[in-house]
């Protein structure tokens, strides 16, 4: 079109504008004046600044060739037509700049009339870039927040986050990378591609990619700083260059996902345009990197707590004020044997020991009033019907109507406490008993010596000293017995195996007690089978057992009794029996006869000097030699003790 054809109109407008004090030229809004043929007559400096064209480039030419995107041509023509028809029109639309980038605008078309004739139109453009950007940012942020809220893991949120950001920017590809600390590399969590592009190859390469610090997205990881590449296809260091070219991708930016000061991942976005670094985009999404990093941190912390919950040896639970568990960990199953669903389908009180229910109810009532509980103990029924002691430390959350509890299996401790208590009691009993037993002969020695010292008559003196001597012997026997018991109990008693002629040894014991037997006018017989072996055993200890049992028989049989010792064999063992027709052992005492310090109820009637150690010692010795001992008795009729000792392999018959 010839430019001079419109000179008069242009001049008219410029004069008019000058008269109005530069209303058009000085206007901060971009303003364009076209004639009725849509040819540019004038643009103001704001227009030049917005679109990057100089007025001289445009004047005399149709404007749509410069700033109207192809897909907006119809819309633009429609707006112009209305202007020429004398109507104002307005549209929120897009135009592009000289550099090809798209700009969001609010366009108002106002007719330009001289008299009643429409000679052209004003186009008034308001730049909506900032507003649109803010809107998109807001939309993207909202979408990200929503994605994170609906996901428990970053993997689950990744796709939504990438899509939201890419769509908000009108970019086509988003990739999320997470740092794998063990392998010291970035691995792809997700890759989102807009449906309008074919990026199959690029996506595949990305998903399989592993990047070390400083390489590819690893640069952002290493620098902990966003970075921008205006065209990846001309960047030799970009490893996915070929496939990016194939997908038509050019500009890219990446930003670190920050957790405190640590990079936990990297986000990458790609677009089809070749774009110079845009600080505004980078700034806008820096916050997103922080947000995602924090989310990763939270989910990791959550995972850590979850791991503790799962692996805890203690029983962890959350229970409702309704008395049912709402959550329990695996330890409940491991400790009590029930499945999780079995435990959660019954009121927790159902498992509590009857005797502990009242206290448990009180405890629960305290919790419901908001009082925390420390180390409350009750018994819980296991699946196998046994009970275990549980120690509860619980904190209520009345606003949630929940109780959080850490429960410790205290069964072993309880058992130990009980055992310790029993042991202490036994030890105390032992000490008082031994004290008593030791004091008696000591008093005897002390008093007899005191009498001897004061005695004038020498025969009298000798008699007191004789009693003191006898008391001393009693004391020594007691101390020796105690030492034997102690050695046998601690397993320190040495066993000396030697060949023993059993009959000879037994006869020797009988010789030793001959005086006592004679004094009480007892009859004592020894019987043995003819093929009695020369046995390999500890002669000293075996002798002690026989002596002890025979002495008991003599002592607890009224004068003129019968005592029989029989030696025989039974199932590959040697067997001794010592039988008497003495006072016998009451049935109630028989079971406890071999216990430490136990004396049969009727033993006192015969002798009060007994310590209750003799038969205990006998049992310990027999057991030490690998044998066993038993007793049968009828009160008033007599008693038979028998003990068996194993025949060693080398025993000669």
């Amino acid at each position: 079109m010839p430019r001079q054809a419109n000179t008069s109109l242009a001049l008219t407008i410029r004069e008019h504008d000058a008269a109005l004090g530069g209303l058009i030229r000085a206007n901060p809004l971009a303003i364009l004046v076209v004639d009725a043929h849509d040819r540019v007559q004038m643009v103001n400096p704001a227009f030049e600044a917005l679109f990057g064209f100089q007025e001289a480039e445009l004047v005399g030419h149709p404007i749509e060739a410069f700033i109207v995107p192809r897909d907006r041509a119809v819309e633009a023509a429609g707006l112009s037509r209305r202007g020429f028809d004398g109507q104002s029109a307005r549209s929120v639309t897009q135009r592009h700049r000289k550099d090809g980038s798209v700009v969001d605008i609010d366009l108002t078309v106002v007719p330009l009339a001289t008299g009643s004739e429409t000679v052209g139109a004003y186009g008034i453009f308001r730049d909506l870039t900032e507003q649109k950007r803010a809107e998109r940012q807001l939309r993207a942020q909202y979408a990200v927040v929503e994605a994170l809220a609906n996901s428990s893991t970053i993997e689950g949120a990744a796709s939504w986050v990438l899509r939201s950001v890419a769509e908000a920017l009108h970019w086509q590809v988003g990739v999320m990378w997470l740092v794998d600390k063990t392998a010291n590399e970035l691995r792809c969590v997700d890759c989102w591609c807009a449906p309008e592009i074919d990026a199959t190859q690029f996506e595949q390469e990305t998903r399989q990619g592993r990047f070390a610090p400083g390489v590819g997205p690893g640069r952002t990881w290493a620098m902990a700083h966003p970075s921008w590449i205006s065209d990846v296809t001309s960047e030799p260091a970009f490893s996915r260059r070929a496939s990016a070219l194939g997908a038509g991708l050019h500009a890219a930016f990446s930003l670190p996902m920050m957790l405190d000061n640590e990079v936990v991942g990297v986000l990458e976005f790609f677009t089809r345009a070749i774009l110079e670094s845009d600080d505004q985009i980078l700034r806008m999404f820096a916050a997103l990197g922080q947000q995602l990093g924090a989310f990763v941190g939270r989910t990791r912390a959550q995972e850590q707590i979850e791991r503790f919950f799962t692996m805890s040896g203690d029983l962890l639970c959350i229970a409702g004020f309704d008395g049912y568990f709402t959550r329990i960990n695996e330890s409940w199953h491991r400790t009590l044997g029930y499945t999780t669903s079995e435990l959660m389908s019954c009121p927790l009180m159902d498992f509590v020991h009857q005797e502990d229910r009242e206290a448990t109810r009180t405890m629960f009532a305290d919790l419901m009033r908001g009082v925390p509980i420390q180390a409350f103990e009750n018994r819980y029924r296991c699946k196998d019907g046994t009970y275990r002691w549980l120690s509860w430390t619980a904190t209520p959350k009345p606003d949630e109507r929940l109780v959080y509890a850490v429960v410790h299996d205290a069964t072993t401790r309880k058992r130990l406490e009980h055992q310790t208590h029993e042991t202490m009691k036994m030890r105390n009993d032992f000490v008082s008993f031994v004290t008593h037993q030791l004091r008696t002969p000591l008093s005897g020695i002390k008093w007899m010596l005191e009498l001897a010292a004061d005695a004038a008559d020498s025969a009298e003196k000798a008699s007191y000293i004789g009693d003191a001597h006898e008391s001393a012997n009693r004391l020594i026997r007691l101390v020796n017995d105690l030492l034997d018991v102690s050695r046998l109990e601690s397993g320190k008693l040495q066993v000396t195996i030697e060949p023993v002629r059993l009959r000879d040894m037994t006869d020797a014991v009988v010789d030793e007690v001959a005086t006592l037997v004679r004094e009480k006018r007892h009859v004592l017989d020894v019987e043995s089978i003819p093929d009695l072996p020369v046995a390999m055993l500890d002669g000293q200890l075996t002798r002690q057992v026989i002596l002890n049992l025979v002495s008991n028989a003599i002592k607890y049989t009224p004068p003129g009794g019968r005592i029989a010792i029989r030696i025989g064999r039974e199932d590959g063992s040697l067997r001794w029996s010592i039988q008497d027709n003495g006072i016998g052992v009451p049935p109630a005492s028989q079971k406890r006869l071999f216990e430490k310090f136990f004396r049969a109820e009727n033993a006192h009637t015969v002798d009060t000097e007994g310590t209750g150690l003799g038969l205990y010692l006998v049992r310990l010795i027999v057991e030490r030699l690998g044998g066993r001992i038993a007793c049968e008795s009828e009160e008033g009729r007599g008693t038979i003790f028998y003990f068996m000792l194993p025949l060693a392999a080398g025993d000669q018959t």
Binding site: S432, H436, T440, G444, E450, L451, D467, H604, D607, T608
Partner: protein, 127 residues
């Protein structure tokens, strides 16, 4: 004076019994000995002594049971009793104390002379 006061000595250990009996008699007391709990009860009922020296661990009937029996019977209720034992368990002391005893002596901690002096002192106070 304490000479001629009657003492019942219940002690099953023959050495201790002999020693006590000898010493108390030398001091001029009239001493009767019982070798077990049953005998102690029988003798105490026959003739209430001025003092009963009572061992705890004895055949047939232990000292605490003797004491309880004596306290049940009006005729023997007032007999002054001293427990002479070698057991220093609190439980036995408590039981004896509940049943009412003048004192509780550990034999091994006393010499015969001390024993004699204490008996004399008690019997002087009684009269």
């Amino acid at each position: 004076m304490t000479v001629g006061k009657s003492i019942l000595l219940a002690e099953d250990d023959r050495f201790l019994r002999r020693a006590c009996e000898t010493k108390l008699k030398q001091a001029g007391f009239e001493v009767r000995v019982a070798v077990d709990g049953e005998e102690a009860l029988t003798f105490a009922r026959e003739k209430a002594p001025d003092l009963l020296l009572l061992d705890l661990l004895m055949p047939r009937r232990d000292g605490l049971s003797v004491l309880a029996e004596l306290r049940r019977d009006v005729a023997t209720r007032a007999i002054p009793v001293v427990i002479m034992s070698n057991s220093s368990r609190d439980l036995e002391r408590q039981k004896a104390s509940t049943l009412g005893v003048v004192d509780y002596w550990i034999k091994s901690n006393l010499s015969l002379q001390e024993l004699c002096d204490r008996v004399s002192q008690l019997l002087r106070a009684e009269t």
